[in-house]
């Protein structure tokens, strides 16, 4: 047993850290530190910087632009990226549909789509959830009927993150209405410019527009946009969701938030002294630090195992990462709110696009607290994670 990194891994960390330090545009870094949303232009700019360095899709196979890093190197990369902070690459392309395409799609699809994902020529969004299909994803109803060389798609997707920017959507659609739930589902790639698609924003409690409803009304999709085999889409979806759980702990990000929390608590006065000097606050801080340290170690254990057992199989312990990772992220937003106190109340009338340097850091604290209730809901709610543990680990 050994916690330390090898000299090569340490050198790698230095290299990655220096790259992030020197290459993340200052405006983007500031937005992330203050929990503001980045724009589409920000994401494109940053992805191109990563792509130029050859680090846009490090976990992909080498032939499609991957780096062949070890699990530990990948972990270091993610940690440093979050800690800088730098924006994580848009997950819908890089982590979700990309791996599905290089694993299950045909050669023509690989050749066409993968390079466009890697440099963010195409902005992808995810068409899985439906109004009636949340945690029970396999109950989805959006249907695709084969007519000649086309599918005709009708239905509705929801919670579609950043669909307003999207060029493409990957969808789970029902192609065999007679088949049992999980069977009869296919994985279809749909151009967002297609006739019959309507995107309607869902405004979340923080006032932000991250998610949307996407309506499909007799949308014609070329049959060649099917990934893999018809009615095998559930297998590809399971593969995709398994990948989604890795790196969900967000330890690096929480460390960055913790640093910021300490900074803010150190500069905010209460009762004639910084809040940071209040013993009760300090103990709350120490308590979340202990949780975060434990999570970091648990994540390292999962990563070290992954390196040994080969990739592809999600470790059931990754459910621990999701549960604790989301709880810690939420606790940190709660403590931020506590530090802001009565000054958390004024609403940020300038919105996300505000670039006013004098804007107080405090404006985003309450919205972030509200917004972060999502982290224990998305990616398989924490209750679903407990189901996974009780079935896959405990055999209940």
């Amino acid at each position: 047993m050994d916690l330390s990194l090898t000299p090569e891994e340490q050198a790698f960390r230095e290299e990655v850290r220096a790259f992030f330090r020197d290459n993340v545009p200052a405006g983007i870094k500031k937005k992330l530190s203050e929990n503001r949303h980045t724009t589409k232009e920000d994401m494109v700019e940053w992805t191109r910087i990563l792509h130029k360095k050859g680090w846009a899709v490090p976990h992909w196979p080498k032939e499609f632009g991957g780096t062949e890093w070890t699990a530990v190197q990948q972990y270091i990369f993610n940690e440093e990226m979050q800690a800088t902070p730098a924006p994580p690459p848009l997950p819908f392309g890089v982590n979700m549909v990309g791996p599905v395409i290089y694993t299950f799609a045909n050669e023509a699809q690989k050749k066409h789509y993968l390079p466009r994902i890697a440099n963010l020529t195409d902005w992808w969004c995810q068409g899985f959830s439906e109004p009636g299909s949340g945690s029970d994803l396999a109950s989805l109803k959006t249907k695709a009927e084969r007519k000649g060389d086309k599918y005709i798609v009708n239905g509705q997707k929801t919670w579609t993150t950043l669909a307003q920017h999207a060029d493409w959507i990957f969808c789970l659609v029902r192609t065999d209405p007679a088949a049992k739930k999980q069977q009869g589902i296919s994985f279809l790639l749909i151009d967002m410019k297609s006739k019959g698609i309507t995107v309607r924003p869902i405004v979340t409690i923080d006032g932000g527009r991250e998610v949307n409803e996407v309506f499909f009304d007799d949308v014609e999709v070329p049959a060649e946009n099917l990934v893999g085999e018809e009615n095998k889409g559930w297998d590809y979806a399971k593969f995709l969701l398994g990948n989604e759980r890795t790196n969900i702990a967000r330890v690096g990000m929480s460390k960055e938030r913790l640093r910021r929390l300490r900074e803010l608590a150190g500069s905010t006065q209460a009762g004639g002294r910084p809040i940071l000097d209040d013993p009760k606050f300090r103990e709350k801080l120490a308590a979340v630090e202990v949780e975060l340290k434990a999570l970091e170690l648990t994540q390292m254990r999962v990563v070290a195992n992954e390196g040994k057992n080969g990739k592809g199989k999600p470790d059931p312990a990754s459910s621990v990462l999701k549960i604790k990772g989301s709880e810690i992220q939420q606790t940190l937003t709660e403590l931020m709110l506590e530090v802001a106190g009565p000054f958390a109340s004024p609403y940020d009338i300038h919105g996300d696009d505000n670039t006013n340097e004098t804007m107080d850091w405090i404006a985003q604290i309450a919205p972030t607290y509200f917004n972060y209730r999502k982290v224990s809901i998305y990616g398989g709610s924490n209750e679903i994670q407990r189901n996974i543990i009780s079935k896959a680990v405990l055999g209940l």
Partner: protein, 380 residues
């Protein structure tokens, strides 16, 4: 970054597990606990035979030169079986004092007896008012000729009745809570002026309150610097805390296993109660708490190699916080999921709960270590 055991460490684990499988089921444990000293000399002999009592000692002293990971392996296995034998006070604590602070003569006098199983030790540290503060010592050691005279009272001394030698913390100078002036002394339990009042503990072991009245010992009784022994005490107690964290993880592992087994078999309303989601989610939370505790027990174990003493202490404090919280949750919920049967002395689960509860308040509880971690300026 590597969390696997080495080949030798795996062999060690197999051998401890094997020994306990053969000779330490719940019924056997009851018999050992019923012996007058509260544990089994026969089992202790087996531990010696397998070399477990000599693990951490240097090869030059007759040991195996093993490290903190080996102690973790042993303590986890002991936690799973709720072992009663005095490994912690003898090998971990007294052994730690001898290894880190003992003179060549002291090592030669005491280590062979530990390794061959002929001698056990006890750590007489806790006082009426000291609670978890290691620097709060009112027992005194006064110089007399070349030797020392010890006066004071110590409480809840684990293995205090059976131990051959007591490791006693005593003040050689200064006020009750001063960091300076604390010494560590090796005192034969049968020395004149030592009064031992033994009793059973809540978790099935035996401890004693011990009074020292004008106890005279020689110059060779002082271990390390009698004027400045606190850093040594802190180091050894941190090792004891680390060992307790590992023991707790073993006890949590077994509690979860027993509980899951129980809810799979216990039927109500015509189905196993483990088919109810309320219980499944509780069990899943027990798993999460156990894994987080395991991670921190590993951190504390590996921290023994950290160069920075402050970082080492903060890591152990953080581990004790997590293990304390996890112990409480896993212990309490084990009883809850068992229902009425969990309340009975007859079922093993309650004994795990009791041991976990006592570990939480040994050498500093969760609040104490949270304060310690906080005062260290954070651990991230």
């Amino acid at each position: 970054m590597d969390f696997d055991l080495s080949e030798e460490q795996r062999l060690l684990k197999d051998s401890v597990d094997g020994l306990l499988n053969d000779s330490y089921d719940f019924e056997q444990r009851k018999k050992y606990g019923a012996e007058k000293i509260g544990w089994s000399k026969a089992v202790w002999g087996k531990l010696a035979e397998q070399g477990l009592l000599g693990l951490p000692f240097a090869e030059a002293d007759g040991g195996f030169g093993a490290g903190a990971v080996e102690t973790m392996i042993v303590m986890q296995a002991f936690g799973r079986a709720l072992v009663l034998e005095p490994y912690l006070p003898t090998v971990v604590i007294a052994g730690g004092f001898l290894r880190h602070g003992g003179s060549a003569a002291q090592k030669a006098a005491h280590i062979p007896g530990i390794i061959d199983g002929s001698k056990t030790f006890a750590f007489a540290q806790l006082e009426k008012n000291s609670r978890y503060d290691l620097s709060d010592v009112s027992t005194t050691a006064k110089k007399k000729g070349d030797g020392w005279v010890i006066d004071g009272e110590k409480f809840v001394v684990l293995n205090g009745e059976a131990a051959d030698t007591l490791v006693v913390t005593a003040r050689t100078k200064g006020g009750q809570t001063e960091r300076d002036g604390i010494g560590v002394f090796l005192v034969p339990r049968t020395a004149k002026g030592v009064t031992v009042k033994g009793y059973p503990t809540q978790d099935g072991m035996r401890a004693a309150d011990i009074t020292f009245t004008g106890v005279e010992v020689g110059a060779d009784a002082a271990l390390g610097d009698p004027a400045n022994g606190l850093p040594l005490i802190e180091r050894v107690v941190d090792e004891a805390r680390t060992a307790l964290c590992a023991e707790a993880v073993g006890a949590m592992d077994e509690s979860l296993k027993i509980t899951v087994e129980y809810i799979k078999t216990r039927k109500q309303f015509g189905v196993p109660i483990g088919s109810f989601q309320a219980l499944q989610h509780r069990a899943a939370d027990m798993f999460v708490f156990t894994e987080q505790a395991r991670s921190m027990a590993m951190l504390a174990t590996m921290a023994s190699d950290f160069n920075d003493a402050k970082e080492r202490a903060a890591s152990v404090a953080a581990a004790k916080v997590q293990v304390g919280k996890s112990s409480k949750f896993v212990g309490q919920q084990s009883i809850q999921l068992h229902g009425g049967i969990g309340m009975t002395m007859e079922a093993s689960i309650g004994h795990y709960f009791k041991r976990l509860s006592i570990i939480e308040s040994t050498f500093g509880d969760t609040d104490y270590h949270l304060r310690r971690a906080s005062e260290a300026g954070g651990i991230i």
